[in-house]
């Protein structure tokens, strides 16, 4: 019974993670420029990867594998924003300008 609950929960996490990975992929295709696409990549790094890993942790149970998975979670949390920042800064230095809102396409209207 407990085994089944654990499996169900773990599957919910893994499927949820898969959903956010797909959303991130769709975002990469739909969003208009490099800087906005970074936000879609952010979904993949955070919700996508972390939910997947949470599901794996439940499957691994209480073992050394769990410790390693948690370390991966920690490292992703530290490295992915650093990488995103490095990419954004490199793009700016390369003369790539972010495409900004002109005011008309905001869902809340202008100020």
């Amino acid at each position: 019974m407990l085994e089944m609950a654990r499996d169900l929960l773990s599957w919910a996490f893994i499927l949820g993670g898969g959903f956010f990975l797909i959303v991130g992929g769709i975002g990469l295709l739909r969003l208009p420029d490099f800087f906005t696409r970074l936000h879609a990549a952010g979904i993949i790094d955070t919700m996508g990867a972390e939910l997947m890993l949470a599901g794996f942790v439940l499957q691994a149970g209480f073992s050394l594998v769990t410790v390693k998975l948690l370390l991966i979670v920690l490292f992703i949390m530290f490295t992915s924003p650093t990488a995103a920042h490095a990419l954004a800064k490199a793009a700016l230095h390369g003369g790539y300008k972010p495409r900004l809102a002109t005011g008309g396409d905001d869902d809340r209207g202008s100020d």
């Binding site: 936000h39 919700m47 050394l64 949390m77 995103a84 495409r99 869902d107």
Partner: protein, 157 residues
């Protein structure tokens, strides 16, 4: 010197966790690589400057991580909704926001927290300000409110 010992202990515990081996021969190899890492870190002059993180308040840090986790989940749901919306309701903007952390570690923690939250990316950090690219105005207002900035400053990293 104390920092070098901390670094050595931390590195060796990490080695133990990752390897899971407890034979004498392999343990001594692990010890050898730990010593090498500490030696290189000292030679590179990083061991004694960046060892401060061991002095921080661990419980406050976990409290902050829990709060940040909730913020990340909320931001993820918001950005997901925008990506899947056929109208793609985004209004990207770039702005500078004040940074109140005193130490380098604190500023990096704040900038990384901004980037980790989908919808906002820290693209530059100069003086006492961070330059942020936001996907839409609500995300930008979240950074402008300064709540995250205050929480990171309170960590006193």
């Amino acid at each position: 010197m104390l920092h070098a010992i901390y670094l050595g202990l931390a590195s060796f515990s990490l080695w133990l966790l990752l390897s899971g081996y407890f034979e004498i021969f392999l343990l001594s190899l692990g010890l050898l690589s730990t010593c090498l890492v500490v030696y290189i870190a000292r030679r590179m002059d990083v061991a004694d400057h960046e060892g401060r993180s061991l002095h921080m308040h661990v419980f406050r840090l976990f409290g902050y991580w829990a709060w940040l986790g909730m913020e990340i989940v909320k931001a993820n749901l918001d950005v997901t909704r925008r990506i899947l919306d056929p109208r793609l309701p985004i209004s990207p903007e770039v702005f500078w926001s004040p940074v109140t952390q005193g130490s380098e570690v604190g500023r990096v923690a704040y900038a990384n927290s901004i980037t980790l939250t989908p919808g906002t990316v820290a693209i530059d950090l100069e003086g006492d300000e961070v330059e942020v690219h936001a996907l839409n105005r609500e995300a930008a207002d979240g950074v402008r409110s300064g709540e995250m900035d205050r929480k990171v400053t309170a960590l006193d990293l």
